[in-house]
Symmetry: C3
Subunit: 139 residues, 3 copies
């Protein structure tokens, strides 16, 4: 286990724009407040979504597409630098009209409404390639 | 994307009362500590639950009722003012004995046990009617 | 509803070790930073998992086992003292290759990758037996 004490420099709430991309909006917030490291949680609803499932044998992401309105019952993630760009690593739990839940790594989704809380850390988090998992990890 | 820097004035942990309503308990906590804006996450279990799914075409909430014990695997939300009253906008992920998950906007649920973390912000968040979504949104 | 104002003494981000146990890793972080009370959220993926569902009639946990790779779409929990030991009460939402979600109280799971944010509180939280639910609760 690798860990780091963090200093929070500032803290934000945000409302995501209807029609925009959920993850891009969070990255825009990070850009707007100059956050090279941050932690966020969020809730809301989307008009569609593309989740990615990581195949741990093939070490590849497989997309799962949903072309219908879904609640965002949970969203947890963090901002870090990936090859020099701010990247919002975003996991979500989504649900449909019968309440049934689907979940995973969020690649993209069209915002219906979104409410975000973000804490910004002083020291950047930088992702590097990890041999074991073939993922880009920080620390 | 609309955002605001927030100043946290205080921070709480709470245990929700068995038999009480999950969301009302969170609003009682907000009342007790005079929070007109706050962010919370929580976990626990409930004895039943009513979720609401927002129909993005009809712009109406549709209720989904569960009359059985469920784990609260995740709960994310915030406190704001809605027509002058404190309102805990609360999204949850619930699960049954086979682990299957249902999720969405929580209207009400009878607490079995609940553990909450809440951060209280200095400046109130106020909800106003949003034309595009027909929802009450802040910022 | 029982609540307590908390003072955060320090805040951490951590990366869980591939192959280790998810909950034990969080407890190791708590040990490493001397946390007798903390709140955390996390995301990642696991290679397998054992969830527990609490039967509210029998007042017993029932295990649910998953022997396949799953995303950790959400993880919310807290650290407290249980019979003198640090215990990470951990709820998760997991998902498979079709996105379908399972969720509940996490007993154990083998980490594939895990990213954690933890806030450490000054005053310890201690769990005691609660008559009504037959659970060990704090406050």
């Amino acid at each position: 286990m690798h860990y780091r004490a963090v200093e929070t420099t500032d803290e934000y709430v945000a409302r995501l724009e209807t029609g925009a991309d959920w993850r891009a909006e969070i990255e825009s917030l990070a850009d707007a407040v100059d956050a090279d490291a941050a932690w966020f949680t969020a809730l809301g609803a989307v008009q569609d979504a593309e989740l990615w499932f990581y195949d741990q044998d093939a070490c590849e992401y497989e997309p799962i597409e949903f072309d219908e309105p879904l609640e965002v019952a949970s969203c947890v993630g963090n901002v870090s630098l990936l090859e020099g760009d701010r990247f919002a690593h975003t996991h979500v739990v989504l649900s449909g009209p019968d309440g049934n839940a689907v979940a995973g790594h969020l690649n993209e989704a069209t915002v219906w409404a979104g409410e975000v809380h973000m804490r910004v850390f002083e020291e950047p988090l930088e992702r590097d390639h990890d041999e074991t998992t073939d993922l880009d990890l920080w620390l």
